[in-house]
Symmetry: C2
């Protein structure tokens, strides 16, 4: 026991990993059984500390005890996964005592995971698990080697005679190819829905949708000419449109519309979540669009647009839905409460996974 | 172009991902062709800003321009990958404009990647790539579902008649199961060495070595009774000791000694990097150790202990080497310059991968 204490101390001051001494460790966040949550942060020099998170309407002040530990306990938080951060005077940081970070290229936020009394659909449960693998593919189109995450369902066998349907799933504008698994928990949602018999076993392909230096540059040719052939050459998959779906959030929701609706021969399922469509590409594709609605409605088995009523894109998304209605394209809207959040993303994905490939 | 500008602005103030307005984006870090590096940070309110990193002997002050952009340019940095962070007054943060974070449970640091004039051994090169897959395995030993990363080499085929050797590779004390790929670049080092014919195609298994709540609790039974059987049941691997290796860094280097030397029938290759051995388990295993050196030296094809002369564990590691020498156990020391760093980890791994399974 004594050496455990010494080791805990070494960890605390950072010596075991070769770091200079730092702040002592405090426990944060502490999720209580009644779903209240206590946040803590150590500082003897800060003047003001507050917590800001997507479970709060406004940042909440934290208070300092005599030892220099700032804390606040928030009222019960509805079970889900939420991004949050601390403000230390004028500096915003991730919670230094929380190991779980939001995967994003710009925002360094922590994740608060409030478990449900019954396991939520994104919880790690005792069911058969698929796996997520990290691939590199050479993109002639973008002249670089790019990263790709691929979920294969439980019991997946590379050599099987069974051929799987494929969902192409695109992240939001400042997210990465990891955000759908690390924050969206797409793999665990699929594991759980497959175990419950509510979703078909499928392969989920999560590409990196940002085309640097312009995140808004067309991703369409890379997905269509590089990603899809890579997947179809390396995995036992069905290659007809009825076994191919595309979905995405925010900027990725706009990419989903751009890619899906210009290739209805390739995707019978299009699921766009809170799409961001104020782009040159969207204007080019849909500004003077004259689709043959009859043909397209036969090609698309399901075309869904989902959004929350508090989403800053809500009005824009409603206009998109109206535009598709006007062109006589059959679109199923899914309108829920909430904002432009990954809480809603998980909800939308859970909905889609039960609808596609049926 | 106009919409690109508007979108860049939306990203900058954080609107596209639903965030409240924040600091403007600045470019940081900028690596210049001569390997000087400029760091930048925007703040109109900070009093003092500095950069701290493993390429610097001491933190370096940054200076503010009239627009509120703090910056400093450091002299040429030797090509490698380094952790660094900013100090904003008394708060330490990752660089908000850098997308590349160090995978660690405690330290939120950014990564500086200074490429070599010729590609370094950890660089993403145009060679055949293996892949890294994320698995869950149920651990009866630890009564939880645990995460496991598995690298399979280029051209790996699950159904192949070829059986692969396996390296079990363990991270440091506050690292995660991702640190060996995200920071150690074990997968890219293996890809490059295999492409050059310098390493055997092998499977690399990267478990999560921390046993919470006590990171120092014995990991041995989980690795031996759960991880190895999981791998051997799911992958085409050789199951004799000549085709099994174990390696690890820091706390993981101590675990490597604990696991490897108590199971010399299982591992013919033991590679311990800067081992941390001030643990109950090490004392129990080696306090009154009376190995049959003749038998053990026949079982071990290679037993390496690596460390840097600036490592805070250098004296302790030298004592370990002396202890093994005294017991007549054949150990190959690899002593290099440098400290308790992942720069040295990559060097040690590059060395090991060329020695094992030959």
């Amino acid at each position: 026991m004594k050496s455990h204490l010494i080791i805990a101390l070494l960890f605390t001051v950072g010596i075991v990993s070769g770091q200079p001494p730092r702040r002592p460790a405090v426990s944060s966040p502490d999720v209580h059984p009644d779903h209240r949550v206590t946040f803590r942060y150590f500082s003897k020099t800060a003047q003001r500390v507050s917590v800001s998170g997507e479970f709060l309407k406004a940042p909440l002040k934290m208070w300092r005890d005599t030892a220099g530990v700032w804390s606040v306990t928030v009222p019960p938080v509805s079970p889900d996964i939420y991004p949050y951060s601390f403000w230390i005077d004028s500096v915003q940081i991730a919670d230094p005592n929380n190991t779980y970070l939001f995967a994003n290229e710009r925002f360094k936020r922590s994740i608060l995971d409030v478990p449900g009394d019954k396991p939520l659909i994104h919880a790690l449960q005792n069911v058969p698990h698929g796996k997520v693998s990290y691939h590199y593919y050479p993109s002639g189109t973008l002249k670089s080697v790019r990263s790709l995450l691929i979920y294969t369902p439980p019991g997946f066998d590379h050599q099987s005679k069974k051929k799987y349907p494929v969902l192409y799933l695109i992240h939001g504008g400042s997210d990465t190819e990891e955000t759908w698994t690390k924050v969206g928990r797409a793999n665990l949602i699929a594991d759980n829905l497959i175990a419950q018999g509510k979703a078909e076993p499928m392969i989920i392909v999560m590409p990196y949708g940002n085309v640097r230096p312009h995140a808004m540059a067309d991703f369409t040719p890379d997905l269509v000419n590089e990603v899809i052939p890579y997947v179809e050459n390396h995995f036992p998959v069905r290659k007809d449109s009825r076994h191919r779906a595309i979905a995405g959030f925010s900027v990725g929701g706009g990419q989903t519309l751009n890619i899906g609706l210009t290739h209805p021969d390739k995707f019978a399922y299009i699921c766009s979540y809170a799409p961001y469509t104020a782009t040159d590409e969207f204007k080019r594709n849909f500004g003077n669009w004259t689709p043959d609605a009859h043909v397209m409605n036969k090609q698309l088995k399901r075309f869904t647009i989902s959004v929350g009523t508090d989403d800053f894109l809500y009005e824009s998304v409603k206009q998109n839905i109206a535009m598709f209605n006007e062109k006589k394209i059959k679109v199923d809207p899914l309108i829920v409460s909430g904002g432009h959040t990954w809480m809603n993303c998980r909800l939308f994905l859970t909905h889609s996974l039960q609808q596609i490939f049926k």
